[in-house]
Amino acid sequence: MTAKGILIQGLKKRYGSGDTAVDALKTVDMRVAPGEVVGLIGPSGSGKSTLLKCLGAVIEPTAGKMILGDDIIYDDGWKVKDLRALRRDRIGFVFQAPYLIPFLDVTDNVALLPMLAGMPNTEARKRAIELFKALDVEHRAKAMPSQLSGGEQQRVAIARGLVNHPPVILADEPTAPLDSDRALAVIRILNDMAKKFETAIIVVTHDEKIIPTFKRIYHIRDGVTYEEEGEGRDFE
């Protein structure tokens, strides 16, 4: 196992206590290497969202270990003081809906993250434009989110997830609102970006169209993950 990417060992999450306690995550073991895109699949109530929130440092797990890149970020307790900075600098998010900030133009939607991290505005915008070139939305850089198509918005959202060059991106149903062609296009982009930026990407999905594209899939059922080889079908 490489030291980069993300490694999760024996992660557990319990809600409540006593008789009313619910074990949302019982045993989660995952590893995603840099440049790799894996699928996370499971039925409703299986613990996908809880796992995503734990990985995103939004809620605290009950036990287990998480290693991000070279750093242990959780080991039966948070090892990082500033979770906000952790989310900003080291974890990228792509949501089911793009959730772009409606009052910022496309460039500033993406450049906002490095700006929040203290990067000068000009440099942050330059970095955003570079990503737009890679994602083929450079011509929409000055547009407002409401002027973009669904696919364009999702590509901008991917750019936002990538802009701080995080070691891991958590993508929550990123193709749900898209048709087959656009959904596959998004997965192709995620694969390209994973390789280009050496980023580990976890895609939570129900989307039957894209499941065959993963080379590795984690199934989650009743809070327990199972690894499976995927078809890794060619996008073309």
Partner: protein
């Protein structure tokens, strides 16, 4: 770092501007209320300034002649004039009434001034048109706010007067324009009864055996003559010679003439502290109510705007935006709304309400500065509810499930 609040305002500027305009009209009313109070105080001061007096001699133990009725004998001024340190003394009467004109009437304070020359206490200190009163009867000088014009014929009680001069900013403490007429006419207007009442009084006097004695035939005529004579004025205005303290002269007059005497500062205290005190309290209550309503409106608007951005706020928190950035976003928007409101309010108060309001509205720069500070504080406080809502947003809301 870009200004999130600024971008949001620019993105939905129409909503902000129209909301700000609505708030601005409310702020405009608030500023105008303060201006009305200042105007009342100024009216009171102007009344005192324009009287040209240092002392007001009134009926003993009254707050006359403005806050209470006062009646003193008309010849008292002679004795006062003879006291050392008194430069001039003049009788004066005040009567607030409806002054008739052909096409309606105007509420005015009819002021009876002693015949003399300009500069006599009680006279209008300057005219904007026409001349001062030169005849002993049936001429009038009116404040321009009354709407009267030179040559107009106006009716006060049973007599008609010709407007021979116009003055400006001569108003009562209530803001009613003043109409100056000769003292004798004013005494008649104030004290003389109508013909029916005079006849009835004469009949009653004649039927009283104590007054109508066969053995003293001139007694009845003498009594009736005394009943018909107007011997009273409301006050004597006194100007003190330079080098004399008004307080000392006031003490002298009250001791020797057994009358109540007020200095300028005492009279100002009576007018502002007593005569317009109730109005001032009413205006203050209105100011408080308007401030509360403004706060509620700003709080509601900002809260609604914030609730409309809950998902964006969740995303911002998830991607690592600091709480202070989110607090700044909401507070800056709230204050921006207040600033738009203040500008609109100041403009509407200056250009719309002050000229059109039927009372004198005095908008002072200091009140505007205090109003501005109050608006900023109110908007800042009003955003607290929205800030609390925003800070309670769970970043997990951005993640489905």
């Amino acid at each position: 770092m870009i200004s999130l609040a600024g971008r949001d305002i620019m993105h939905s500027w129409g909503k902000f501007v129209f909301t700000g305009m609505g708030l601005g009209l409310l702020i405009g009313i608030t500023l105008s209320m303060a201006g009305i109070y200042r105007g009342m105080v100024d009216d009171a001061k102007v009344l005192l300034d324009n009287s040209g007096a240092d002392l007001w001699v009134v009926q003993k133990d009254t707050l006359g002649p403005y806050a209470e009725s006062s009646s003193i004998y008309e010849d008292i001024w002679r004795g006062i004039r003879g006291l050392p340190g008194v430069e001039r003394a003049a009788n004066i009467t005040y009567l607030t009434m409806q002054v008739g004109k052909q096409d309606g009437d105007v509420r005015a304070m009819v002021t009876g001034v002693t015949p003399g020359e300009p500069g006599t206490p009680g006279w209008p200190p300057y005219l904007v048109a026409g001349r001062q009163i030169t005849r002993s009867h049936y001429e009038a000088v009116a404040d321009i706010a009354s709407g009267f014009k030179l040559g107009d014929r106006i009716q006060i009680r049973r007599n008609h007067y010709t407007v021979v001069g116009l003055t400006r900013r001569m108003v009562s403490s209530n803001g009613d324009p003043m109409v100056f007429i000769p003292l004798k006419d004013a005494q008649e207007a104030q004290f003389l009864k109508d013909n029916d009442a005079i006849r009835e009084q004469r009949r009653r006097t004649a039927e009283n055996p104590a007054f109508n004695r066969p053995g003293v035939p001139d007694l009845l005529d003498a009594i009736i003559a005394s009943q018909s004579t107007n011997l009273y004025v409301n006050a004597v205005l006194v100007r003190v010679e330079p080098g004399h303290a008004p307080e000392e002269i006031a003490e002298l007059i009250s001791r020797w003439k057994r009358l109540t005497v007020y200095t300028r500062s005492q009279m100002e205290e009576i007018l502002i502290g007593k005569l317009i005190a109730t109005s001032a309290r009413q205006i203050f209550m209105f100011l408080v109510i308007l401030a509360i309503v403004s706060s509620a409106i700003v709080a509601f608007i900002i809260y609604t705007l914030t609730l409309g951005k809950i998902r964006e706020i969740a995303v911002l928190k998830l991607i690592g935006t600091k709480n202070r950035t989110i607090v700044g976003l909401i507070m800056q928007q709230s204050i921006a709304l207040g600033l738009i409101g203040f500008v609109v309010g100041k403009i509407s108060a200056t250009l719309l309400m002050a000229p059109l309001f039927p009372k004198y509205v005095l908008l002072q720069p200091l009140d505007s500065v205090m109003g501005f500070i109050a608006v900023v504080i109110i908007c800042g406080l009003s955003s607290i509810i929205a800030i609390r809502a925003a800070l309670r947003v769970d970043p997990a809301e951005a993640i489905g499930g």
